[in-house]
């Protein structure tokens, strides 16, 4: 941050029309680019990792033809989708049809603004960042609903309806699960939440909130429309759900949004329950000194990668849930457990249970 300040001061002197507002704009712009570019690259290679890992789990080898060991596969995929024709259904509303992918990708990227990658590394430090995450996360589903509606076709519409009802059910569960974190940390600022988990691996919130971790992760699977809860796409039932009528770049944008959301949910899991940028070796003799040179962002990324791997692992393992089973899981299992756990956490807070409170 000091480097930034000196850079801005230098600009202030160097360019006469330069003032604070322009500087802030510029800083936010640079930060956004520095965030979005690696994110898009991560998304591209996440799709490659998905195909490769799922292939390995099915005793196949996955893509291995484009470039050495298939390393260029995501680039080839992107080029293919970019050069493909975008087909508009003849009786669809073209404006809504094109607005839908934008509405899907914009929240998926905007939600990253509040994520603290390391101590002091974030695009913006919002005091209500948890609320911001929940609010922007809910907007993402409008893209899917709009896509289903604007396609003017029955399978997309069915997919959109499923998506809407899933969101309503699981947004509540996710909200309650995150409320428990806010209760322990005493803040809805993600920076404060991570800071509050300082200490060691047992100071992280996954121990007092173990049921919430599981519930949050499963709900995150539903929120991002991933297997085994991918009824929104449901190839065997409704062809491709909301993606049926989309082709070329419009489809690629939905794809991008879905995978960006997946990575985001992994990061959020780490920040909420697994100590964010904190090293797992904190306050452990020798190991702490041994790994003290590793920057926090690396720890965050390692933990995130594990949860991203979990997404793929789960997809390769479990068959798709039936629609009513997903609903039952939300309303009859997860919601009661989360509500009970809120009271348990309240009790723990009152008893000042060490070392978390």
């Amino acid at each position: 941050m000091e480097l930034w300040q000196s850079f801005v001061n230098w600009l202030d002197l160097a360019i006469p029309w330069f003032d604070g507002a322009v500087a802030n704009m510029l800083i936010i712009l640079i930060k956004s680019i520095a965030l979005v570019m690696p994110l898009m690259l991560a998304v591209a290679y996440f799709t490659y990792a998905e195909r490769k890992i799922i292939g390995y789990m099915q005793l196949r080898v996955g893509p291995n033809r484009v470039g050495p060991r298939g390393w260029l596969q995501p680039i080839a995929d992107a080029l293919k989708l970019m050069t493909k024709e975008i087909i508009f259904p003849s009786k669809s509303n073209i404006y809504l049809f094109l607005l839908a992918p934008v509405l899907a990708i914009a929240p998926a990227i905007a939600v990253w603004a509040v994520i603290p990658f390391d101590k002091g590394i974030y695009v913006t430090n919002l005091d209500v960042s948890l609320l911001y995450v929940l609010a922007i996360g809910s907007i993402g589903v409008y893209g899917i609903i709009l896509a289903g509606w604007a396609s003017n076709s029955k399978y997309p519409l069915l997919g959109a309806l499923r998506s809407a009802s899933l969101l309503v059910s699981y947004e509540i569960v996710i909200g309650f699960a995150l409320v428990t974190v806010a209760m322990i940390a005493g803040s809805v600022n993600l920076n404060t939440i991570v800071e509050a988990q300082r200490g060691s691996i047992i100071h992280w919130y996954w121990i007092p909130l173990l049921p919430m971790v599981i519930i949050f992760f499963i709900s995150a699977l539903v929120e991002t429309n991933r297997a085994p809860f991918d009824v929104v796409e449901g190839e065997s039932e409704i062809v491709g759900g909301t993606h049926v009528e989309y082709s070329g770049m419009t489809f690629a944008v939905f794809f991008l949004a879905e995978y960006a959301n997946m990575i985001f949910m992994s990061v959020l899991t780490v920040i909420m329950f697994f100590g964010g940028w904190h090293s797992p070796f904190e306050n452990i003799l020798y190991l702490e000194q041994l790994f003290s040179w590793v920057p926090g962002i690396i720890w965050l990324l390692i933990k995130t990668t594990f949860f991203m791997f979990l997404y793929l692992w789960i997809r390769a393992t479990f068959p798709r849930f039936r629609y009513d089973q997903i609903m039952r899981l939300s309303w009859k299992v997860f919601l009661p457990i989360t509500i009970v756990w809120i009271f348990v956490v309240a009790l723990m807070t009152q008893l000042k249970l060490a070392p978390w409170f």
Binding site: Y56, M57, L59, R60, V61, I214, W313, I314, T317, F318
Partner: protein, 164 residues
């Protein structure tokens, strides 16, 4: 009672799910069974019936005597033969067409042939570049026979053991 408690513990600790995940994790590091097709190939039986070929005598004379037995036996009517009498009073084909779209690769032509002229090779990965390309003529068939002579003879002699 103990059983009941055990079941509850297993259910709430996602026992079944962990079992499934364990299996996929094991397969992740197992040896893969994929065969990289153009570079690696699966073993093929010597009786495999693939693309056809017309064989020649060692002196270069074609074996086919235009008896039209293959044309007659062909259940799909894929073979068309026209013949002529040569100056040395031998009968030879002027036209020998096989429509590979019609062909069902039953191998009857090979069985019917009295002089082992028409044979089916082990080639299965061939392409046509146009719709008309599905009909291969005498020149093509002889060319296939010349090109893959060794492998054809090897396969047929391997199969000979089983023909009574």
């Amino acid at each position: 009672m103990i059983k009941k408690i055990k079941k509850i513990v297993k259910d709430f600790s996602l026992g079944e799910l962990r079992g499934g995940l364990k299996i996929t994790a094991k397969e992740l590091v197992n040896k893969k069974v994929t065969i990289q097709f153009p570079e690696e190939r699966t073993p093929i039986s010597p009786r495999f019936r693939g693309l056809h070929a017309l064989m020649l005598y060692p002196n270069g004379e074609e074996r086919c005597i235009a008896c039209k037995l293959c044309e007659a036996v062909c259940p799909a009517n894929a073979i068309t033969i026209e013949s002529e009498l040569r100056s040395d009073n031998t009968r030879r084909t002027t036209r020998y067409d096989i429509d590979l779209f019609k062909c069902i690769f039953c191998g009857f032509c090979e069985e019917a042939c009295p002089v082992d002229a028409i044979v089916e090779t082990q080639i299965f990965d061939y392409v046509f570049e146009s719709r008309k390309g599905s009909v291969i003529n005498k020149e093509n068939l002889i060319e296939v026979g010349k090109k893959h002579k060794d492998s054809i003879i090897k396969a047929k002699s391997e199969d000979l053991k089983y023909i009574i």
